[in-house]
Symmetry: C2
Subunit: 310 residues, 2 copies
Amino acid sequence: MRAAARLIRLIDDGDPGAREELAILYRHSGKAHIIGFTGAPGVGKSTLVDAIIVRFRKDGKSVGVLAVDPTSPFSGGAILGDRVRMQRHFLDEGVFIRSLATRGQFGGLTRSTADAVVVLDAMGKDVIIVETVGVGQDEVDIAQNAHTTVLVTIPGMGDDIQAIKAGLMEIGDVIVVNKADREGAAKTVREMRFMLHMSMDRHLDSKWEQPIVETVANADRGIAELYEAILRHWAYLRDHSHQELQSVERSRIRKQVIDLLNEIVMRRVMDELDATSNLDDLVDQICRRETDPYHVSVDLADHFLRGAKS
Amino acid sequence: MRAAARLIRLIDDGDPGAREELAILYRHSGKAHIIGFTGAPGVGKSTLVDAIIVRFRKDGKSVGVLAVDPTSPFSGGAILGDRVRMQRHFLDEGVFIRSLATRGQFGGLTRSTADAVVVLDAMGKDVIIVETVGVGQDEVDIAQNAHTTVLVTIPGMGDDIQAIKAGLMEIGDVIVVNKADREGAAKTVREMRFMLHMSMDRHLDSKWEQPIVETVANADRGIAELYEAILRHWAYLRDHSHQELQSVERSRIRKQVIDLLNEIVMRRVMDELDATSNLDDLVDQICRRETDPYHVSVDLADHFLRGAKS
């Protein structure tokens, strides 16, 4: 466990030295059920995750949790999250909780999340829960790294939340309306059903019908149904739809390779640019409007890529 | 205006053909005051932006608005946003509103936002407002593309909001506590002041003191103060701190070049990978655990980058 913690720290720091160890661990990965929890801030994801951990532990499953916080590039948000979450499960050796807050440059956060999943998977965790804070592209990317994605929403938020719900609807294998004791819960559930209906044609290849589960996380209401829905989705993938599971696995791997490649390529490019003062000079020229970012970036791409015209 | 709308559509579609036109427009850019509005969904950003547009129009300024929606890669979220926002300013030729929803791959959304800002700037808009939905890395990146960043929050949201506030505090030149008639507003303002105080040491080079403005956007309360704070920040940069303005400009340009470079490089790499079935074969091998994503991505980087060992 201490080695895993150290490795995840290296991963979060973006240390390329972690790659050799990850390559070895990778051979032992591929067994865990990876579950993503996503949704806007303030919907109660942490409380739900907490309750679901308890269920998995009761069933004798070991659990790894990654709290991914793309909003904390500037501060200690992730550390805060760790402390809050650790309290309840602190003495339970079957639960391993870590936060990630890698700077998001060149897809760093999705890359580091995928890496940390490999570590927990190779550790032998039965279940890995990835919880994201926020609703941007990072979260969509991270959700796509899971087998089962739980999309959490609440009744009666603003217009932009509605747009988000519509946008993220399709990535949720299980939809949760939390704080379902609030006014407007029934209306929200109706809207969700309508939106699911609208997006149905995109999922013709899947026989999975996304359930909508109403919960009141801090009163432990609906947690049994949510737990059951998560298990049912995993059983569906594992036992009834090998093809779908394999396609999920392949796209997870593909994405991981592309994220790693992007980061490695851009780090090498940036290292070379930083070693010379080349970029500073170019920025000066753009500042004076002698050239523009469009010609400069194409020229740089030609310079760095093998086989491109120079 | 029709040409600008067409060009922004090309930009949002990620059409590389837009680059030549953008290069020409770029020479005419660099005059507008770029203002970013950021904050969690549901805090009332759109209403605030709306009210601020009215003030700028009263002062005879032309305004361009970009609504950036990283949550809608899967659906028509941005179109929805357009429709809602267009209503009030539809007949005002001095206001130009567009939404962006570029898929975020390889920094696409930050790239397309920067491009669209160039278009509005070259159109001669005095003020360009960039409004983001969400609180992830994309928003942080986009906010850093502005001269003046307005960070919007509201009283009494959950723990993760608190973490977000701490994390984003430093990117706000003006901090807004909206819905300030709600319970807990005074407490939130106190917390904000404390957090500002904590992060003060990071801004030793700046003499700007981030004001905290309390607003009730839908009752038009505090809007005059917010407007004044925004103008004051611009005057500070433009008239009193040329050095700071220039450093903002340089880092904006640097970021734009790196985003463009990342996208151009990775597009070329992906085009070549897609043209061969190379990546598919590699994914198969990783699936069978014959190799791993870490070795594969380093080998691919070596293959694509000029001068790297092969």
